[in-house]
Amino acid sequence: MNSNLNTIRDLADREYKWGFVTDIEEERVPKGLNEETIRLISAKKKEPEFMLQWRLKAYHHWASLEKAEAEPKWANIKYGPINYQEITYYSAPKRKPSLQNLEELDPEILRTYEKLGIPLEEQKLFAGVAVDAVFDSVSVATTFKDKLAELGVVFCSFSEAVQKHPELVQKYLGSVVPYTDNFFASLNAAVFTDGSFVYVPKGVRCPLELSTYFRINAAETGQFERTLIVADEGSYVSYLEGCTAPIRDQNQLHAAVVELVALDNAQIKYSTVQNWYPGDKEGKGGIYNFVTKRGKCLGVNSKISWTQVETGSAITWKYPSCILQGDNSVGEFYSVALTNNYQQADTGTKMIHIGKNTRSTVVSKGLSAGHGQNTYRGLVKILKGATGARNYTQCDSLLIGDRCGAHTFPYIEVRNSTARMEHEASTSKIGEDQLFYLRQRGLKPEDAVSMIVNGFCKRVFRELPMEFAVEAQKLLSVSLEGSVG
């Protein structure tokens, strides 16, 4: 028997280890979606009137799309119909989330985060990482708040931002992803319950990595968080996002929205390690991860960089994008997406060049194993006024086994003749040959597999903050279920 195959199967047999359920009391609104639900959510959160109105507009827009059956169907993914009336749109841990300090946090939640390897007690934290923990759509704890406040950096839950910084929220909410943007973005705008909010004032280089951990715990709930990050002139912030969910037979919907705004000379680095429950080996259960992420380089010389490592979710459907409006602004997208068993991913980016001398870089690495289907879909659009725009796109697929698939759909629209475009694409297969070569040089099979996979993903891992890069590598080897054919 071929032990190369066995190695990959061994890796394969590791289970999703974040799949436990935390037993805490929750407060929920009844299932289903109507205007009442929206009013109830808004009231529970004691929101100002502008928020309620915005939500209602979003709801009516969404309802019209729903009625017209305008749920998007173009992505290269397959799933059964979603009954939006069977979802609970608000679920929160019962104890009050407005904490003064961590001692007040429900000890069960604290234990959950410890199990996940994310201790919320500040002394245990990695130096230099501030964490906001979102538990079933509600932010339960934000660490290092005081230290950040000294610099004027606002890092809090979205609910808190609505209360304490309504002018910032009103100014930027929906300015990058309007509530009319797409079906799921509309749904999110109507029902989102919480999320993270970041504001970095002029000239401040945020000294900590800001980090949010999202966890879906309750059954039959959707998670609709919304993140808004505003980097004022000359500022810099690096933001990390991690996600997990318990094992459940039912598919759960996660429809988040992330908006980033970078003003003149500002930089935002946004990193994601997405490890929502992917479903079991037969493809049962798992998260539908339908997310809209977009950044706007509003100011000159601004830069937004997306890095994502996507290993979880039954279905991933997301395109972290950059609108390069300011002259000389820079957009980057680095992605590793792994699909295994029956996972499906349709992911990529959109780079919209509007300003002069705008530059974008797209590096996408798709790994498919088992019956996984992995699609890269990317748009690079150079508008008429974007003189001197440049794009570099590299898009590689690695197949592990012969029942999986990789698909590439690059779209390039150029309206300015000075544009400089580079595109590279490849598809390859990890096979017995490669493993045998490495083993013949003395390497153990498991080291050989991890060497090949890490080599393949290197350009993306290099973009992650150190601790995340290590985590991503581990996650990848654990998630590598499947087999070589």
Binding site: D402, S417, T418, A419, R420, M421, E422, H423, E424, A425, S426, T427, S428, K429, G431, D433
Partner: protein, 467 residues
């Protein structure tokens, strides 16, 4: 529209019919039944399909109506007028031999056969057809697809002369075999159809250079086909240099047949010609073959330079690499069409394709089209294309260090062209080509500034109107 094109085809066909019936009566090997039917079938095919139009996917970016509309006649015996002295500038020292062809016909008198090493044979194909047909028959016309390509059909119909190179099993020819093709319009539109057959038997090694030049301006149409057979483990380097006059039409097809573990490199350097179509079509028939398709095209004025690459992987574990760099100035139009077909059994194929282009003027144009057709499931295919300008920053930087504009431009252009040179093996041929490229880039850099100023006045005739 459609109607008019059909009409074009008919008008010019009459001229070709006339030429063909004349040709058939006097051509070498007219009494060989296999050759006769090869020619006749090809001519029938040509009559059937006519010249391609831009509706044909393979010719989408290249309009050959200027060829179709011109009443080209076969050039006859022109070499009598070419003197040794006129050949002077095209002599290359240090080669194993230099064969000279005038309008496609081999001239022994003008050729220098050198001291040919044991195990190799070079001659005019016509002489071999006449004197040694059994050696030619197994190969001639066995590789090019006259069904797919009208120009190959036309060439095959008029196949008579060209170069015949035969390297025996295990022989290593270290010096280049230099084939010089001179075209001369002789004041009336003339055409030639050189046909080359290169057979490198197993374990042999050779370097072949095809160099296309014009003696005088005027509408000359040179339609070449080269069949190159590389046996098992043979190592062959093939160079094609196009530096004809700006009124010349040059269509060339290099069809490579590779055996097991054979290694073939094809280098094309297009510097001249008005309308040039460069077809390179390797088929990797044997396991473990390797081929490198490397090219540089430099166009300005109204030049149209079309590169059509078709790499077929027909066996497992073959590697192919395509690298083409284009530099286009003035109103030049460049085309790179890179097609890779991986057949069902060609597992572990590793195919890579890169096309990089520099556009030096607003009117210059490039169409680049990758096309991958993969029928095997364990393959690695990569393609990449870039289109860019000379970086003004880099230019300014060099000038701020005291380098004048022309030199600075030339330096940057040369750096770009060097990528292509670096893929050629060090030695005589590379040095020769480096000199040609250098000269050509110097002209481009030199005329760039003036061209920009005069671009409005330069309402020259396009190649479509010529003839």
């Amino acid at each position: 529209m459609r109607k008019q094109e059909t009409k074009n085809v008919i008008t010019e066909l009459e001229t070709y019919l006339e030429s063909f019936s004349e040709f058939e009566k006097r051509a070498a090997g007219r009494n060989l039944p296999w050759l006769r039917s090869l020619r006749e079938d090809a001519f029938a095919r040509f009559c059937q399909v006519g010249f391609p139009t831009t509706h044909d996917e393979d010719w989408r970016f290249t309009n050959v109506s200027a060829i179709a509309r011109t009443p080209f006649r076969l050039a006859r015996n022109g070499f009598a007028r070419v003197s040794q002295k006129e050949l002077g500038p095209w002599r290359v020292a240090g080669v194993a031999c230099q064969l000279v062809f005038v309008n496609g016909r081999f001239s022994r008198e003008l050729s220098s056969m050198g001291n040919l090493p044991v195990g190799m044979k070079v001659n005019g194909l016509g002489k071999e057809i006449a004197g040694n047909p059994t050696e030619i028959e197994p190969h001639l016309g066995r590789y090019v697809d006259t069904q797919r390509d009208a120009f190959c059909a036309l060439n095959t119909a008029f196949t008579e002369d060209g170069a015949y190179v035969h390297i025996r099993k295990g022989a290593v020819v270290e010096g280049p075999i230099y084939l010089l093709f001179i075209s001369s319009a002789e004041n009336s539109p003339s055409m030639s159809h050189p046909r080359n057959l290169i057979v490198a038997e197993e374990d042999s090694q050779a370097i072949i250079v095809e160099d296309y030049v014009s003696l005088d301006p005027g509408p000359a149409f040179c339609n070449t086909v080269t069949e190159l057979v590389a046996g098992d483990r043979a190592v062959v380097a093939h160079y094609m240099i196009e530096r004809e006059h700006r009124e010349a039409f040059n269509i060339s097809t290099l069809r490579i047949e590779q055996g097991r573990s054979a290694s073939v490199t094809s280098h094309s350097v297009l510097l001249g010609g008005g309308l040039v179509r460069n077809n390179v079509h390797p088929v990797l028939m044997g396991e473990g073959g390797e081929c490198l398709i490397n090219g540089l095209f430099v166009g300005n004025g109204r030049q149209h330079l079309d590169n059509y690459m078709l790499v077929e992987h027909a066996s497992p574990r073959c590697d192919s690499r395509q690298f083409y760099n284009g530099i286009l100035d003035g109103n030049a139009h460049g085309v790179f069409h890179g097609r890779i077909i991986v057949h069902k059994d060609a597992q572990k194929t590793d195919a890579k394709q890169t096309n990089r282009n520099l556009l030096l003027s607003d009117e210059a144009q490039i169409d680049t089209k990758p096309q991958l057709e993969i029928y095997a499931d364990d393959v690695k295919c990569t393609h990449g294309a870039t289109i860019g300008q000379i970086e003004e920053d880099a230019l300014f930087y060099l000038r701020s260090r005291g380098i004048d504009e022309v030199s600075a431009r030339k330096l940057l252009l040369f750096a770009f062209a060097t990528e292509c040179l670096d893929r050629m093996k060090q030695g005589l041929v590379r040095k020769h080509i480096e000199g040609l490229i250098n000269h050509s880039l110097f002209q481009v850099a030199n005329t760039r500034a003036e061209a920009r100023a005069n671009s409005r006045k330069d309402e020259g005739r396009s190649w479509e109107e010529m003839g």
